[in-house]
């Protein structure tokens, strides 16, 4: 089965439009066919000539040198940013520090807000402690 002539014509036009006039940069598999089609078609020949003129403009635009920048300064600025694993490590160490701080600062026993009974009870004998707890004070006596 052969491809219709219109297909080759359209494809040759597409190749010129996309790749320009430098045939060395055309797709290897299509170059010979495209060149043969162009050779027999004045409109495509003219398109190829125009494409080569445009190539000159585009190449000189794309290759035009730019004023030099400071590569060393740019490298130094880039290296001021922490690297990925360093960022992860930094984040991890902050989290670990916070966890350690919470553990260390959390009291291991609850300190009672009224310390008197504990201190007193610890220094009294059982009988004295019983007496202190169950002996009425003057304020309590009037309640009976």
């Amino acid at each position: 089965m052969t491809e219709p002539t219109g297909y080759f014509h359209d494809r040759a036009a597409e190749i010129i439009a996309a790749y320009g006039g430098d045939t060395a940069r055309w797709p290897d598999a299509e170059r010979a066919t495209a060149l043969a089609v162009i050779a027999g078609n004045p409109a495509l020949k003219a398109a190829l000539t125009e494409a080569r003129k445009l190539d000159v403009d585009l190449t000189s635009w794309a290759c035009r040198p730019v004023r030099n920048g400071d590569a060393r300064m740019a490298a130094a600025a880039a290296m001021r940013q922490p690297r990925s694993f360093m960022r992860w490590a930094a984040g991890g160490s902050i989290a670990a520090s916070l966890a350690a701080a919470i553990v260390l600062l959390t009291p291991t026993e609850i300190t009672p807000s009224t310390a008197a009974p504990r201190v007193t009870v610890a220094t009294l004998s059982d009988e004295a402690a019983f007496e202190q707890v169950f002996t009425l004070t003057p304020d309590e006596e009037h309640l009976l």
Binding site: E14, A17, A18, Y19, G20, R25, E50, A51, L54, D55, D57, L58, T59, S60, W61, A62, C63, R64, P65, V66, R67, N68, G69, A71, R72, A74, A75, A77, A78, M79, Q81, P82, R83, S84, F85, R87
Partner: protein, 189 residues
């Protein structure tokens, strides 16, 4: 020692371990050509420097992500750079000034020829400014860097066929703009 290492992939492997001198050596190699690419894509020198700085920072912080089995250092970095350029354009929607034609250098000895060349360069600059950054990126990579359709497709994260279409539309648009700007075209009734 590092001056003797010529393989960017080897330098990149050192960068991944945090070797600052390897990074400086690599930046020295990439900086000039990449600044030119960014300047062409963005059509603005200051924006180009910022985009390149962003790309270099990414290369330093994400060095461990580079996989030599998936392509060259140049190709990997070019993709980061072009993405930075396109992202900047999406964020800031800048209308870039066209570089002053007076700054276009010319090595032509004849002042008249130099003047004609400068005028032509100015017309090309004006036409290029009307394209979008993605189109300028494709033209820069194809005509400036000699990249193949497949390489451009990797950089722009698309297919070679789509790059063909992008380049064809860009060239047709440029040809129309340059043709309409010719003196003989302007004089037509």
């Amino acid at each position: 020692m590092l001056q003797m290492i010529d393989d960017p992939a080897l330098l990149m492997a050192r960068v991944a371990t945090g070797d600052r001198r390897a990074f400086e050596t690599l930046v020295g190699r990439l900086y000039g050509p990449c600044l030119r690419i960014a300047t062409r894509v963005l059509n603005d020198r200051t924006e180009a420097e910022d985009a390149l700085q962003g790309a270099l920072t990414k290369m330093w912080t994400e060095a461990a992500r580079f996989d030599p089995a998936r392509g060259s250092v140049d190709g990997w970095f070019r993709r980061i750079l072009v993405n930075q350029c396109l992202d900047r354009r999406r964020r800031f929607k800048i209308v870039a000034p066209i570089e002053a034609a007076a700054t276009v250098p010319s090595d032509l000895p004849d002042p008249f020829e130099a003047s004609v060349a400068n005028a032509r360069a100015r017309r090309v600059d004006a036409a290029m400014a009307s394209l979008n950054p993605r189109q300028r990126a494709a033209i820069t990579l194809f005509h400036g860097e000699g990249a193949s359709m497949a390489e451009i497709a990797v950089t722009l994260e698309t297919t070679p066929k789509a790059v063909e279409g992008l380049l064809a539309r860009s060239r047709i648009e440029l040809a129309r703009l340059l043709d309409s700007d010719r003196p003989e075209s302007r004089n037509k009734p």
